[in-house]
């Protein structure tokens, strides 16, 4: 019984991934077709940015502070406390900043898109658009996916700065490190090969958040239950896909820009 239900769940998961792949293919078939809906994309970017701004701000500072406070005793034990800014900066830029921002973005935005499009499906607003000779896929899905893909890298850069600032703050409180010393180490350590993979993968993560939320909302079943399901499963699937793609992209980044 348990194995049946586990098997059924695995089958369902792969069914969704298959349908999501077809949905993604449809996105790429439509993304370059005019009209380009610049106004709608800007509107979504603004809304998504504003919606996520407070929570990622808090997250950014906390990442830097916690990482510093957790690492400091170990670094002191090995007499390597001078390398703390180096470690914090690289961890934030290469991994923690992009992944944590993406996961928070997924929780906030993917569920929102899933619920919004799901509700539009259930109340026949998407059908109304279609019978008005307006392509709802281009107007609702393509614009949202472009917006999430463009806004997440910007949010990540912002979070990276805040996390490094948080790291300095914790370091100043714990070891009385001066701003000039901390920042000189940060500037010294950060290389082009650290920034590009970190920011580059957030483009993929932003796309995952947008396409997963849109897919589950756009294809929601009838009824309010379908809307709730679209909202919650959007978070689960986009978070899972972010982690899976992170694993792949880390390997690709290390191959392209090896750590010296």
């Amino acid at each position: 019984m348990t194995s049946d239900s586990t098997f059924e769940q695995i089958r369902k998961f792969f069914n969704i991934i298959g349908a999501l792949s077809l949905f993604t293919h449809r996105f790429f078939m439509n993304v370059l077709k005019p009209p380009y809906e610049i106004k709608e994309i800007s509107k979504h970017m603004y809304e998504l940015g504003v919606k996520t701004f407070p929570i990622v701000s808090v997250t950014g500072v906390i990442i830097g502070v916690v990482l510093t406070l957790q690492s400091l005793p170990i670094m002191i034990k090995f007499g390597a406390e001078a390398f703390l800014p180096y470690m914090v900066t690289l961890s934030v830029i290469r991994e923690l900043g992009p992944v944590l921002t993406a996961l928070i973005f997924a929780g906030r935005v993917s569920s929102g898109i899933g619920a919004e499009l799901g509700s539009m499906r259930v109340t026949e607003q998407i059908d109304a658009m279609e019978v008005s000779a307006i392509d709802p896929f281009r107007f609702l899905v393509v614009t949202r996916v472009i917006a999430t893909t463009m806004i997440l890298p910007l949010l990540t850069v912002y979070v990276d700065f805040l996390a490094i600032g948080g790291g300095f703050f914790a370091s100043y409180i714990s070891m009385n490190t001066t701003y000039d010393l901390y920042m000189s180490q940060v500037v010294e350590v950060v290389k082009f090969g650290d920034i590009i993979p970190g920011i580059g993968k957030t483009i993929v993560f932003g796309f995952i958040v947008g396409i997963t939320g849109s897919f589950l909302g756009y294809t929601a079943d009838k009824g309010t239950e379908g809307v709730g399901k679209a909202s919650t499963t959007s978070v689960v699937y986009s978070s899972l896909l972010i982690l899976i793609f992170d694993m792949i992209l880390v390997q690709v980044a290390l191959w392209l820009w090896p750590v010296n």
Partner: protein, 251 residues
């Protein structure tokens, strides 16, 4: 004599094992108002959605204005859709847009009107449904009857040749039902539209129908005028229009 605008031939539609339409054929002449009657779940809305390409029938043909809607590319279907108005059961107003934006949306997207022309058309359509004062309200601020009126205004703003109404009075009280039904009839007369309305509402049918079809279990049970229908001896139809049924549904 007016020509045929809509022709549905032998249409079948199933969802999984469940057969919803089992060989439906009907015709609607220009400027005629057809009402499709039937219990809930008998495939009335499915038939309307097949006509505008939201659903694809398993079998059969549907032509509107001589165009076979089941065998045309999307681009041509969209050209045809510009001439069809569709009022959804829940009005389907776009939640994120104001009443003004809801009405202007199809005009801006599909036609090359100037801003001034769009504003004039929006104001005129709202005036026709007596809702000029609600132009800047959001859909969430409207009552059920107002939402239906705005939905109606949005559907007729492009002055379509064919209007499809999916349960236009469901969920409304008898007074509002009468008002909306009269409004539908008046607009049809003013704009000289052809219409198909699906409903299980006798009051609505009495006001707007030129001709009536009764759909049951996916087939047409009756076709004719409303007076004949209500006087028939068929047990199902008698039950459908019985005082108990009417009382249950209309109070």
């Amino acid at each position: 004599m007016a020509g045929k605008l809509v022709e549905v031939k032998d249409v079948y539609k199933s969802f999984g094992e469940q057969s919803v339409l089992a060989g439906v054929s009907l015709e609607v002449n220009e400027t005629q108002n057809l009402v499709i009657f039937g219990k809930s779940g008998t495939g009335k809305s499915v038939l309307l959605k097949c006509m505008v390409g939201l659903l694809t029938p398993d079998k059969g043909t549907i032509s509107i204005n001589g165009i076979d809607v089941l065998n045309i590319p999307l681009k041509e279907m969209n050209e045809l859709r510009k001439n069809i108005g569709f009022l959804f059961q829940g009005a389907a107003l776009y939640d994120s847009m104001s009443v003004r934006e809801n009405l202007a949306f199809p005009l801006i997207r599909n036609f090359n009107f100037t801003q001034k022309e769009v504003t004039q058309k929006v104001e005129r359509a709202l005036d026709m449904v007596s809702l000029s004062h609600a132009i800047d309200k959001m859909p969430s601020e409207l009552s059920g009857g107002m939402r239906k009126r705005v939905g109606l205004a949005r559907s007729i703003i492009t002055e379509p040749m064919l209007m499809l109404y999916d349960e236009p009075t469901t969920g409304l009280d008898p007074i509002t039902t009468k008002e909306i039904s009269k409004l539908i009839r008046d607009l049809q007369q003013e704009l000289k539209m052809t219409s198909i309305a699906v409903t299980h509402d006798l009051i609505c049918a009495q006001i707007i129908a030129d001709r009536v079809i009764v759909l049951n279990d996916g087939i047409i049970l009756f076709e004719g005028d409303l007076a004949t229908l209500t006087s028939l001896d068929d047990p199902f139809l008698k039950n459908f229009f019985s005082p108990e049924y009417l009382e249950d549904n209309y109070g």
